[in-house]
Symmetry: C2
């Protein structure tokens, strides 16, 4: 699942199968969620949704994103700033995050060697990894030359 259209289809199925309802709000939140691209916070989502559908409040966005997670179209990520962020579900590929402390950009990475080491570490303790969280916080080696430096 990559595109908005696929997400809409999957959500529709989930709604059907669980006797839920298709609403304008859910449509708009899903479109905004895909338009924002990834790592969107509730505040960012709400701000965008309100430009399309004034009157929507936090409760609806929170409930809707929870529904998206249950429907499998979104993932929940908790970084260190106290805000929950969401990203579109992209099939089975797993990835972790690399966060630039200079410009706040969030990169994604996936490393088979690290994944393998994790299994080994677990195996030594009679454990089997279920999921993990791996975030690297880093700074530009280019200093002020960071091409996408953002205001602090």
């Amino acid at each position: 699942m990559h595109s908005l259209a696929e997400a809409q289809a999957r959500l529709a199925v989930h709604i059907r199968e669980n006797g839920l309802k298709h609403t304008r709000q859910r449509d708009e939140v899903l479109e905004v969620f895909y338009a924002l691209g990834g790592h969107a916070s509730i505040d960012e989502l709400l701000a965008q949704v309100q430009t399309r559908l004034p009157g929507v409040g936090y409760a609806t966005v929170y409930r809707t994103m929870k529904l998206f997670v249950e429907a499998g179209v979104a993932h929940e990520r908790k970084f260190q700033d106290g805000q929950t962020r969401y990203e579109p579900h992209m099939g089975d590929d797993h990835h972790d995050h690399l966060i630039c402390l200079d410009c706040s950009r969030i990169f994604e990475f996936e490393d088979p060697i690290i994944e393998a080491r994790q299994s080994d570490i677990c195996a030594g303790r009679h454990l089997r990894p279920v999921h993990h969280r791996h975030e690297i916080y880093a700074r530009c080696t280019l200093g002020a030359g960071c091409p996408d430096r953002l205001p602090p």
Copy 2:
């Protein structure tokens, strides 16, 4: 720094150097903190401190743990249960966490291969790792035989 005595010494220095004061509460919180051994939450700390010094409230424990972090005798860790946990600072050695979803135990691990891969991943993007968070959530392969299984 490993022992309570060393932590007491370091805290005393920090207090001296910053014109702060040595108090009974800070003594007790530090002892309880070391007695609990690691990954203690504010609630756990407060409960223990109150057996020794009734009347202490959340505010004091929160403020005291923040002081310990500044003094370098404690580290702050945020796992996924919404509670901040603290662990004694053990010199320069860094470690990550392996959390058993069956019995809630928290293991520590450190893996040079993973650390090296992290640097490589950063280098490819002109970044230099500053710190990271790596948590593996796992289940016992022993099933109900998990020797230290705890109630859910």
